[in-house]
């Protein structure tokens, strides 16, 4: 089970004065079960890229294979593909339309041909997964807060039991706790159901915390495809592309420049704490208070 892109190029408004390359010669394999991050500045081609993954956009040239089959072949069932590769758009709350939360989430599975009972079962399971309480099932989705709406929209895609879940900035505008809740739940889904997650985000901190593989887009080209640690070690190049590294990366470099012997590849608060404690023990034991719970 995998998605494979071979020499994929996409050109907007081909043959007109507004012609522009949104994607240039992308080669990419996404095997099963990975948690992948995609970053890039506004207009770098991220959204165009992910819409190729479930055949919402047809490449201008190149091929896309899902499980070895060319998705743009004549008899390929793209409808079935789209229920296996679920896409949550940037403003998931704009995808809501039904009278009640439960009905909204049932829409996908019912379209897949499930009976009402089966669809409700899937919907309830999906809602529980994203942390929507049962008391909200009968409410109008429009009465809910921004964070709750996003959860319902994600549940709507999850209820179709996708093998691959693509999320385009699912947490924009959420408060810190709401952001952590949703991402933690997505990470749990990744673990429990083994589904592939592709997360597009502008938050380098979230990327550092959750993903195992990071793809960086710049002007329609894929410039990095590596572990987050390796990608963020190129933080100066990332800045040149309108991006940044997580704040921790900058802190670690500053500490290292000032003589503290820390691991500069740390990207999360926990990693940073551990390597700083390690370095302090060796270099500045006087800063470690007696009786503190440092190991």
């Amino acid at each position: 089970m995998s998605i494979e892109l071979k020499n994929v190029t996409y050109t907007y408004s081909q043959g007109t004065a507004y012609e522009s390359h949104a994607l240039k010669d992308i080669n990419l394999v996404i095997p099963d079960g990975q948690f992948i991050g995609v970053i890039g500045h506004t207009g770098s081609g991220k959204s165009t890229l992910i819409q190729h993954f479930n055949a919402l956009i047809q490449p201008t040239s190149g091929q896309i294979f899902y499980n070895g089959e060319n998705v743009w072949a004549e008899n390929y069932n793209r409808r079935a593909l789209r229920s296996e590769v679920g896409l949550v758009f940037q403003y998931p709350e704009h995808q809501l339309f039904e009278n009640t939360v439960l009905a909204d989430v049932c829409f996908g599975p019912m379209n897949q041909g499930l009976s009402k009972e089966q669809a409700e079962k899937e919907a309830k399971k999906a809602l529980a997964h994203v942390g929507v309480k049962e008391e909200n099932f009968t409410k109008s989705p429009f009465e809910l807060s921004g964070g709750q709406k996003k959860r319902v929209a994600i549940a709507g895609v999850l209820a179709m039991n996708p093998k691959i879940l693509i999320l385009d900035e699912p947490t924009a505008g959420l408060d810190p706790q709401g952001r952590d809740d949703i991402l933690d739940q997505i990470a749990a889904l990744h673990k429990m159901r083994g589904i592939t997650i592709i997360l597009v985000s502008h938050s380098m901190e979230d990327i550092a915390k959750y993903v195992e593989r990071l793809i960086v887009m710049n002007h329609g080209e894929m410039v990095f495809d590596d572990t987050p640690k390796n990608v963020f070690s190129h933080y100066k190049e990332l800045e040149g592309m309108g991006l940044a590294a997580p704040q921790i990366t900058y802190i670690m470099h500053a500490l290292s420049e000032n003589g503290l012997n820390v691991d500069t590849t740390a990207t999360t608060v926990e990693e940073a704490r551990d390597t700083i404690l390690e370095a302090l023990k060796k270099q500045k034991p006087s800063l470690l208070k007696k009786g503190g719970n440092a190991e």
Binding site: T42, G173, D175, P176, A244, Y250, L288, K289, A294
Partner: protein, 281 residues
């Protein structure tokens, strides 16, 4: 007296049934007292649904208080005749740049506000020049806003507000949809206006790092202001903030974690430089 002042402010959202009778009320802002001085840079934090936006919308009379009083530049927002004057004094910038740009050319969009106010043409152009310069958007003045990045669009929106010569700008999560560079651009433009033009800034945000520019922070929860103080005072209370579903900048959190692990380092560290100073002294 401050430029924005609230006394026992309360706001209820009303839900109507099919006959137009009030079916339910929901309190969004409760007993809020504010005193914001001219030239302040104020940050408002709070989780989704805590009442931040409802409070902000009362600062330029988009919403009228259900209870208590809100004064903008000594004008009571509940008094109808003052409405337009108030909206000129307190400009507002929202989250999604695509929803607030109406012009087909950048300079036209920026001139829309003053034109609507009946400013003479010569003066409009002067203000457009001036606002574009202050937000660093002069190079884009003849472009179509469609072709700009998110950060540039937000700066156009800010320039449009600046052209109305407000004494105060209220920004409701202006960076939520932007990439890191866009966030930086917008923050820089806002800080410049605050420092150089002495424009009062009220910034609502979920990015804790943006708050360290502020000189005053209000934290909201359940419609009430539950904490107020300088960024340092607020961010030194990591656990309390977590209770309100909030966060601290990563550098502050790292310092807090080190402190907990027994390192001799003060709480409330706000910048990379402070942390380096504390650990490499």
């Amino acid at each position: 007296m401050g430029i924005i002042k609230a006394f026992k402010l309360g706001f209820d959202y009303l839900k109507y049934d099919e006959d137009g009778n009030v079916e339910a009320t929901q309190r969004a802002v409760n007993d809020v007292n504010l005193d914001i001085e001219a030239g302040d840079f104020v940050a408002v934090l709070g989780h989704n649904g805590s009442g931040k936006s409802t409070l902000a919308k009362q600062m330029n009379a988009l919403l009228i208080p259900s209870e208590g009083t809100m004064w903008v530049d000594d004008m009571d927002t509940a008094k109808e005749p003052e409405l337009w004057k108030i909206r000129q004094r307190a400009g507002m910038v929202f989250q999604n740049p695509d929803n607030q740009i109406i012009g087909t050319v950048v300079e036209e969009d920026v001139g829309f506000g003053p034109e609507n106010m009946g400013v003479p043409t010569d003066e409009i152009w002067k203000r457009v020049d001036d606002s574009l310069k202050k937000t660093g958007m002069t190079a884009y003045r003849y472009q179509s806003p469609n072709k700009l990045s998110g950060g540039q669009k937000q700066r156009v929106a800010i320039a449009g507000v600046v052209a109305m010569r407000p004494s105060c700008i209220v920004l409701d999560e202006p960076t939520a949809m932007l990439d890191p560079n866009g966030r930086k651009e917008v923050l820089e433009a806002v800080s410049e206006l605050n420092k150089k033009e002495n424009v009062t800034v009220i910034l609502i945000t979920h990015y804790m790092e943006e708050v360290i520019h502020a000189n005053k922070v209000y934290v909201m929860d359940g419609g009430n202001v539950v904490m107020q103080g300088t960024p340092r005072e607020i961010f030194s209370q990591v656990e309390t903030l977590k209770k309100y579903r909030l966060d601290v900048p990563q550098v502050t959190l790292l310092a807090h974690e080190l402190h907990k692990a027994g390192v001799d380092i003060p709480e409330g560290i706000l910048t990379k430089e402070e942390l380096v100073g504390a650990l490499c002294r």
